[in-house]
Assembly symmetry: C2
Homo-oligomer: 339 residues x 2
DNA sequence: CGTTAAACGTATAGCGCTAAACCTCCCGTG
DNA sequence: CACGGGAGGTTTAGCGCTATACGTTTAACG
């Protein structure tokens, strides 16, 4: 069946298309209440839905937001971690609430970003899952409102949403220090030198009052497993490990146990995120929880403000929104073993 | 900066817009190679990207596909399981390869489906994560090409993609039977009576040559935990549990262990999916692996065929594509304990 | 040499919508 | 009573693209 158009409604209501358009868009300044009521009734009856394409052409605005994610090597999976999935879900919900739609797209380079943005005239984009370097290479054009999740924006033309990583590191450090830990290993993707990672490390160092040993590992269970065994071997005097993600922490814990260390008796393990996996493994992981749903909502909010033309640098120091974190103590952390 | 349009290219190349349009769309019947080359050069130089909105209006086709998912009660998370995430990722990749875009949308009722489809003139939709009942209530209109993942379509106007659930159940049954198990518990969302669940149950029964006991549980770790304890209590003679998902199986295993049963010595546990969690828990879960990436690709393929106007019922019995499954033996299954 | 028909285009119209300019009453006011 | 002005519309133009119909040339062929 053919689409119901403004024209159809206009004909049936005996008014011009513009009047219908005004009613539909709540532009009631020039429409009498009686006419508006009639039009609204017919719109409802006929199930009229405006054409986004036509609105896009005529008004130059789409109410369409792109979620740009890295294309994985196998080209197949794009929402890397449970963390990202949760953020994406909250983002979609928040946008939907504000009558916007979300377009999902994996991108590898500037060309693909341009293509998506221009082809669909996206009002804005949310960028997630890239390292700082990748992000820089992606070179998001300055003229499209953008919000970056979990990375730092270089030139500062875009907004950013991050957990309060420094605070998270500090909470971790304070927790471990209170348990008597002095020799702590910090494990995560330290090579990428992203602000997310360095922030957590800074917070940890600050609270500990000492320099933690760092062990590089990607944020995967398998890397954690290897890192755990390596830590048991190369840092036998460490009494605690703080990992930048729960998946990683879970792997580390398994690796430590496989190497014969007891958790938390011999070594404490502390994760980050409070992902589901923290509750699945045994012992359950103590962790720094971050509010991923809040992150998604904040990203939506920030982006919509940018789209409205708000200048964020006016209100926030570097255009970055920090999401609060909290310590969740479970079974994987305990008092430092005394040698 | 303003958008580069066909007109801009046309002016610069000294030809009409139609010629440029023809070149861009590879419609080279009416264009001399020389002209085509010139136009292509300029298109490249200026970074021309066609406007999807304009194409949509003029050609009535968008190359846009909607991924419809259930809105969760908190309105926030929409990709329920790792399984869904993986399928979505593969779907996006496959569509991208074929020059289509993916729109992500949580929906609760017919109105919202209609709204998304009509507003953006979606060429088709993929529907995932709904129970058979919810799907029926959603009432996807017959005139929009649709592919349903992991559910059965009632009136058969849409295509469907499912794992070969009966075969999966059979593999599970054969594995357990070979290990000497006779008293097997089948655990999953049996109340929903979806074909996915009943198919697996049928396969299991078939291979076992006996009726398994069924225990109802939602597909979550927490429900699994409760179910595990309940099984230990109410079915102490059961020597194996087959769960419809790995998360669930992980919970069941933990519940059984908490109740004092040893896995697999006292009870074997067998999951489904081969999700990451199967490798995280201890003992690692034996499971029936399904190719989620293949599922996403198949959904894309099927949908594109439907969009092209193919009649699937001609080739396939019920318009359903079945994705193969395979048994993965790890640590959670072993020989039946002899009483 | 006249007729055709490829080959290579261009002109026109319209998809559904909105911004902006433009009408036309009718009422209150000086 | 002329006039301003608001209330309640309508008309016009155009967003960027494609389908369709409509020209031109050139070459081939009887």
């Amino acid at each position: 069946m053919p689409r119901v158009t403004l024209k159809d409604i206009a004909r049936e209501a005996g008014v011009s298309v513009m009047t219908v358009s005004n009613v539909v868009n709540g532009n009631l300044g020039r429409v009498s209440p009686a006419t508006a009521a009639t039009v609204e009734r017919i719109v409802e009856e006929r199930g009229y839905v405006p054409s986004g394409a036509a609105q896009s052409l005529a008004a130059g605005r789409t109410r369409l937001v792109g979620l740009l994610l890295p294309a994985r090597q196998d080209g197949t999976a794009l929402l890397g971690s449970p963390h990202d999935v949760s953020v994406a879900g909250a983002l979609e919900a928040a946008l939907r609430e504000r009558d916007h739609h979300l377009m999902l797209r994996a991108v590898e380079n500037t060309r693909e970003v341009q293509d998506s943005v221009q082809r669909w005239n996206l009002d804005g984009v949310v960028v997630m899952g890239f390292t700082d370097d990748e992000l820089r290479a992606l070179d998001i054009p300055d003229d499209v409102p953008a919000v970056v999740v979990d990375a730092s924006v270089g030139d500062g033309h875009a907004g950013a949403v991050r957990a309060d990583d420094v605070d998270g590191g500090r909470l971790a450090g304070e927790h471990l220090a209170a348990l008597g830990h002095r020799r702590v290993v910090f494990c995560g993707p330290v090579d990428a030198r992203s602000q997310v990672v360095t922030g957590r490390l800074d917070g940890l160092r600050d609270a500990l009052g000492a320099d933690p040993v760092t062990v590089a590992a990607n944020t995967t269970y398998e890397d954690g497993l290897a890192a755990g065994e390596r830590i048991a071997r190369e840092h036998p005097d460490a009494t605690a490990v703080f990992a930048t993600a729960d998946v990683l922490a879970a792997g580390i814990q398994a690796g430590l146990i496989r190497a014969g260390r007891r958790v938390p008796t011999d070594v404490s393990v502390l994760g980050f995120d409070d992902a589901d996996i923290a509750r699945y493994v045994s012992p359950c992981l103590s962790t720094i929880r971050q509010d991923t749903a809040g992150k998604g909502r904040a990203a939506a909010e920030l982006l919509l403000q940018l789209i409205e033309g708000a200048d964020l640098r006016a209100s926030r120091p570097d255009g970055t929104v920090h999401i609060g974190v909290e310590l969740v103590v479970r079974e994987s952390t305990g008092p430092a073993s005394v040698d």
